[in-house]
């Protein structure tokens, strides 16, 4: 009797306070007294040795894969038996296991005959095969639970509130080394337990590091990745770095211009990757002009910059470009694309061209007047009023194009656009690879459940307002009303009034790192061609930043400069990292994500079209817009409603400008296609411009010889001098017909069809 009690106390003590060794040293008498004491105070202590459905059985469903999406966790279950995906609905799972088909899945009279156990051990045919053996702990736990009568949990079972990995990061000197992780779950009552045997593991890149079912990480090949453990609703990760051989590595110690360089170079040094050299002036000028003003440098700009001998001429150039209105106009285009500005002429859906134009002009005004980005966004978030006269309110008509306002779709797109977080998974189940729960999702939806549109004075007008009497969203599983609650917080925002006021405050507050990190990451991705988190709008625990300190620092800096876009862009462009050559060296040739060299980026469709116009000097007209409108200033204006994909101009469809069908960053496509090649080669965009307006003729007349003309064509199209072999080859093409425009048109055609023209490098 006594020894039994001692055991009970030991077990309990361990649960409440693991790793507390002193209990071993207490003398036996004290222990026994303590045991008796405890057993008197907590008469139910012994029951805690019985397995709990939520605490002990459900994690086995998770670990064995029973409730995975391809098995019984599928929305309709599998072979007639459904479990909630990864266990978001414990109560429902209990009902389905125990009460749905009484006596079948669970047999409390002859527990080992429960179908649950027979299937899992492969004793009877099972589509999912054998999952564990009769000797395993999993089997014993489930059996013990059924032997106890398959009880449901009474009262609150301490839920897992945090999961901790034994390592935050591992560095392997060479391949085939390994390290084993352990996973600890911390419960809401403060107790901890080792759940390594109940967690599931995965690696983001098996060609760098693998992780097996026991949590053992093995180095496979040089590089860096993250390995993860999942338990309960948590995904926790650790970095795994596998180093290349030290023998060939010698850090060149490049000069760091600012904090960006320091943090990127720290990372590269740690990974034993040597960055590329600084790019030359020609490359820099073309790159920064395309990035900041969305066009190639002009001939005059090229000559001035190349002639400039000042040591800080790059910084001066950056400032010039930032001051140019083209910078504001380009960012207007980027925001309009992100916010899905489309104009239609179907009055009932509130997205008339007049509304779209009001929204577009408002965005441009904010960009030109240097409105801090947080204020810019906050004004949209709690906007109300007419869609025709109050531009920012069109966030509620355009971000989701639907005849009726849809709070769920809007909440999902809102968080994707402004936080980079995709919460829509949590509509039906807790996010499988992030911390978002259905509580978070429905609480967030409730910010928008009151949004209404009512007809205005004229047919195209809709007045957008928040009906503060509207009920909040209901939880999918149990129908609970979920009052408006910001993501990740526990308590809802104070009731009463328009909850969007609180949302705007929370969203754009300097303390909201989700917000500032999203902006910083998107701006970085725009300039470097790849986010520190990529894709930029899929921020989640299992998709960590490739350089955490860098994103932290950029985000902090953005807050420090009071969300001023130009300041943060200037800082990035100043960095040596931004100015690195795209030409890789032996050490960094395989690096695609640590910014050790510049990324080759195909020009966005609109920038490409503007560049063709700039080089050929022949303007492009867009239907519904005045002459002289640049491609970046164009947004789709269509007849009818505005749901679904809208490219507007066919050129944009071909070259993958966002169709604005969804809020996803992936709508902007940079992949090459055959039709792009054909369009550049024989389509009207290039062909019709080569000889139009007599531009070529004028050029020929203004120059003394073919070499000069060739040089000017190279500079205009590619922003650089022709190399001697290129010049010689071109000269040979011209032969004797030095004044024949056709020959020069062929050369220009070749330049515009080169990959060098289509890419920012």
């Amino acid at each position: 009797m006594i020894s039994e009690l001692v055991i009970v106390v030991n077990v309990d003590a361990k649960r409440c306070n693991p790793g507390s060794k002193p209990i071993m040293s207490i003398n036996r008498l004290t222990l026994v007294t303590l045991a008796l004491f405890v057993s008197l105070i907590f008469p139910l202590t012994v029951r805690s040795s019985e397995p709990s459905f939520r605490r002990d059985v459900m994690p086995i469903f998770f670990r064995a894969g029973c409730n995975a999406g391809t098995c019984h966790g599928s929305a309709r279950g599998k072979d007639g038996f459904m479990l909630s995906l990864f266990g978001y609905d414990a109560k429902g799972d209990y009902e389905r296991v125990v009460n749905e088909m009484i006596g079948r899945r669970v047999n409390v009279a002859v527990p080992e005959q429960s179908l649950l156990l027979l299937k899992a051990t492969g004793a009877v045919p099972h589509t999912g095969g054998k999952l564990f053996s009769k000797e395993s702990e999993y089997y014993k736990t489930v059996l013990a639970w059924i032997e106890a009568g398959a009880p449901d949990d009474i009262g609150q079972v301490p839920s897992t509130v945090e999961v901790v990995l034994s390592s935050k990061g591992m560095v392997f000197e060479k391949t085939e080394l390994s390290e084993t992780l352990t996973v600890t779950a911390i419960a809401s009552d403060g107790s901890q337990r080792d759940v390594t045997g109940l967690a599931r593991f995965f690696s983001n890149n098996d060609s760098v590091a693998r992780i097996d079912a026991d949590g053992r990480v093995t180095a496979v090949g040089p590089g860096d990745t993250n390995v993860f453990a999942r338990f309960s609703r948590f995904t926790v990760g650790a970095e795994a770095i596998v180093l290349p051989s030290e023998a060939t590595f010698q850090w060149p110690d490049p000069v760091a211009i600012n904090f960006i360089d320091e943090l990127v170079f720290d990372r590269l040094k740690k990974l034993r990757v040597i960055p590329s050299d600084l790019c030359d002036d020609e490359t820099f000028l073309r790159r920064v002009t395309l990035d900041l003003n969305a066009r190639p440098p002009t001939l005059a700009e090229y000559r001035d910059f190349m002639a400039d001998t000042r040591s800080d001429k790059r910084a001066i150039k950056i400032d010039q470009l930032l001051e140019n209105e083209a910078f504001a106009d380009f960012w207007t285009a980027l925001w309009a694309e992100q916010l899905r500005v489309i104009g239609g002429n179907y009055a009932p859906v509130a997205t008339d061209v007049k509304a779209a134009d009001a929204f577009y002009q408002w965005i441009r005004t904010q960009m030109r007047s240097r409105r801090p980005l947080n204020e810019f966004i906050a004004e949209m978030v709690d906007a109300s009023g007419s869609n025709l006269s109050n531009g920012p309110v069109n966030l509620y008509t355009m971000l989701v194009h639907k005849p009726q306002f849809d709070p769920k779709a809007f909440a999902a797109d809102f968080s994707q656009a402004f936080l980079g977080v995709q919460i829509q998974c949590a509509e039906c189940h807790n996010h499988p690879f992030d911390r978002w729960t259905q509580d978070d999702y429905y609480g967030f939806v409730s910010f928008f459940t009151g949004m209404k549109r009512k007809p205005g004075i004229e047919p195209r007008e809709r007045r957008i307002f928040c009906d503060t009497t509207a009920p909040p969203a209901k939880h999918l599983v149990d129908g609970r009303p979920m009052p408006a609650k910001t993501l990740g917080s526990v308590e809802p925002v104070p009731a009463g009034g328009d909850p969007r006021k609180a949302l705007a405050l929370w969203l754009t507050a300097p303390e909201n790192e989700m917000f500032s990190r999203n902006l910083a990451n998107r701006i970085w991705a725009q300039l470097l061609g790849r986010g520190i988190i990529e894709p930029v709008d899929d921020v989640r625990a299992s998709n960590p930043p490739v350089n955490g300190p860098l994103l932290d620092a950029l985000s902090r800096r953005l807050v420090d400069v009071k969300f001023d876009l130009r300041s943060i862009v200037r800082e990035i462009c100043h960095s040596r990292v931004y100015q690195l050559s795209a030409r890789p060296n032996e050490s960094n040739v395989r690096d695609t994500r640590q910014f050790s060299h510049a990324h080759l980026r195909r020009l966005r469709a609109d920038v490409l079209l503007d560049s063709i116009v700039a080089v050929t000097g022949v303007p492009r007209r867009f239907s519904g817009f005045p002459d002289g409108t640049r491609a970046i200033e164009y947004y789709p204006r269509e007849s009818g409603d505005t749901e679904g994909p809208h490219f507007g101009d066919q050129f944009f469809a071909t070259f993958g400008r966002s169709s604005r069908a969804t809020v996803c960053a992936c709508e902007t496509k940079r992949e090459p296609t055959l039709s792009q090649t054909l369009h550049m080669a024989v389509g009207d965009s290039v062909r019709d411009r080569l000889s139009a307006n007599g531009e070529m003729k004028r050029l020929l007349e203004s120059k003394t010889g073919p070499d000069e003309v060739i040089e000017e064509l190279f500079v205009k199209a590619l922003g650089r001098q022709p190399k001697s072999d290129e010049a010689a080859a071109m000269r040979a093409l011209i032969g004797d017909s030095v004044k024949d425009p056709a020959a020069y048109e062929d050369i220009l055609w070749s330049l515009l069809n080169s990959t060098e023209f289509a890419f920012n490098h």
Partner: protein, 528 residues
């Protein structure tokens, strides 16, 4: 009779792994069926031996496991008597028929029958008499590579079973013990003539005591049936059926059901025969007819790979229809035991089957709420009855065969006018969900069973833990609370009334619950 004998034989052979009993096994005198129970009568040699073995091997009387292993044990010297029916078919049924059976034929292969096994799959024959090494079936089960091996994604078959299949092939693919193949079985069951429904009502008399499987707690009452002519209730338990007096709830006697869990019970109209259907989940399923008076097994029907969830005996007692997870309703002849027809229409598990008392119609229901009416004689579909949105839990005919009642997990009870296929009355939330404060969303309020009484009233029970009595017009007469007793037996579990029936005279109702308990309530005359 033969299959019943075989069952016995298998049971015994499993109990006597040393082969000591082989001689006994083949003794024709062992036709007294279902002796897995050690009766009070003079034990045979075999049974004495059995006692000894039980003690020695501490088998804990877990007949369940024993039946599972029944076919594993074969002696090498026994090779000549290895047959498809006796030894190989049980292995196939347990491990193969889920994918290569009657309902599904992966690679065109059906191992459920001897002939179809010989025929092979889409790639040709899989067994070659006398040459296991060139039989593809044997290769598949002995494959080294787990990816290529059968059964897929599982451990290989036990060595003994592989050895058994090997010697079956090598000794010439015999179908059965006799030299000529047996295709028709004679069940020895004679349907009761209609006019014979008179005389004293049959009651079980001195049924031999049976040994029960050790249960750590009572098995839920999955099935319940009242004799139409006697104060007698049949109650399902684990591997047995108890006969109970409804007024005293005293046990009158029990019959064993070693095939597993009875899921369905029904007396014939004279009360002399009890139909029991059930089995073990994803292992085996069968329907058995018992003589009520003596407890003797009269016939065995079906050889399924999963529990028979629903079954019924036709009014003329010439047919038994069974159904379950195979989604096919199979109709068997009670006289020959052969399959009369398969009714293929349901897209989900068959959960309820009922023949009309006039013998003309068969009603079947499935797990998504579809009900079909069939013509008993032609097997043609008469009508679909569409009203339920979730699993049908029971079907019951009013004694005049004009009205069929259905109950479902959607909380609905429907009284169907069979003549036109429309519900006369349709009661949604028949067992209303009980919502406590602060609880939102859907509350499970399925109706778990419905059964007509002799006077046309209906008795139902539901997940709201009540038993409800409905007048013949469909209005609620009374609610019996079935919750209080036994709820505290296991904290954290809920007690549910699973079955409810009227007694033969319609004077009381009896319910059985998930804790294996029986309750009964008298019905005052005024409410009738």
């Amino acid at each position: 009779m033969k299959s019943a004998m075989l069952l016995l034989a298998r049971t015994k052979s499993a109990l006597f792994p040393d082969g000591a009993l082989r001689g006994w096994l083949l003794t024709p005198s062992s036709t007294s069926v279902a002796r897995s129970s050690a009766g009070l009568h003079e034990p045979s040699d075999g049974e004495q031996c059995l006692h000894w073995l039980r003690q020695t091997l501490n088998l804990s009387l877990k007949i369940s496991t024993i039946i599972g292993m029944c076919c594993m044990v074969v002696m090498a010297e026994d090779a000549k008597s290895i047959t498809y029916d006796d030894h190989v078919a049980p292995i196939f049924r347990k491990h193969c028929l889920q994918c290569h059976g009657d309902s599904k034929q992966e690679a065109g292969l059906n191992l459920a029958g001897y002939l179809s096994t010989r025929k092979g799959g889409s790639g040709g024959e899989v067994v070659v008499a006398g040459r296991s090494s060139s039989s593809r079936l044997f290769k598949a089960i002995t494959e080294e590579d787990p990816e290529a091996r059968m059964p897929p994604k599982n451990d290989p078959l036990p060595k003994e079973q592989i050895a058994l299949i090997k010697s079956w092939i090598d000794t010439g693919l015999r179908q059965s013990f006799g030299s000529s193949p047996v295709t028709m079985r004679k069940l020895g069951f004679t349907p009761t003539a209609f006019e014979k429904v008179d005389g004293p009502p049959p009651m079980p008399q001195n049924l031999p005591a049976i040994e029960s499987v050790r249960l750590i707690r009572s098995f839920p009452v999955l099935a319940l049936a009242a004799s139409p002519r006697a104060p007698l209730i049949a109650v399902s338990s684990y591997e047995r059926i108890d006969f109970v007096d409804p007024s005293t709830r005293n046990l009158i006697g029990s019959v064993p059901f070693p095939e597993g869990e009875p899921h369905f019970l029904r007396f014939n109209r004279s009360g002399s025969v009890l139909l029991v259907a059930g089995g073990r989940p994803v292992q085996n399923g069968v329907a058995v007819l018992y003589d009520v008076k003596t407890g003797k097994r009269l016939a065995e029907i079906g050889n399924e790979t999963d529990v028979v969830l629903a079954a019924d005996l036709s009014a003329d007692e010439k047919q038994i229809a069974i159904g379950g997870s195979s989604r096919v309703v199979k109709v068997y002849s009670t006289e020959t035991g052969s399959l009369v027809r398969s009714l293929v229409k349901h897209t989900e598990w068959i959960t309820a089957i009922a023949y009309s008392p006039d013998g003309k119609l068969l009603a079947t229901g499935d797990r998504v709420g579809n009900i079909h009416l069939w013509d008993v004689f032609s097997g043609g579909v008469v009508l679909p009855l569409s009203e339920h949105k979730a699993s049908i839990t029971s079907l019951s005919w009013r004694s005049d065969s004009q009205v069929l009642a259905s109950s479902g997990e959607d909380g609905l009870i429907a009284w169907w006018e069979v003549a036109n296929g429309w519900p006369l009355v349709s009661k949604a939330d028949a067992h209303p969900p009980q919502r406590s404060a602060g609880v939102f969303g859907k509350i499970a309020n399925g109706v778990l069973a419905a059964s007509f009484g002799p006077g046309g009233q209906l008795i139902t029970c539901g997940r709201d833990r009540t038993v409800r009595l409905w007048a013949s017009a469909g209005n609620l007469l009374k609610t019996f609370d079935s919750s209080p007793v036994g709820d505290s037996q296991i904290s954290g579990t809920r007690l549910l009334p699973l079955q409810a029936v009227f007694t033969f005279d319609g004077n009381s109702v009896v319910s059985g619950d998930s804790a294996g308990q029986i309750k009964s309530w008298p019905i005052e005359a005024v409410q009738k």
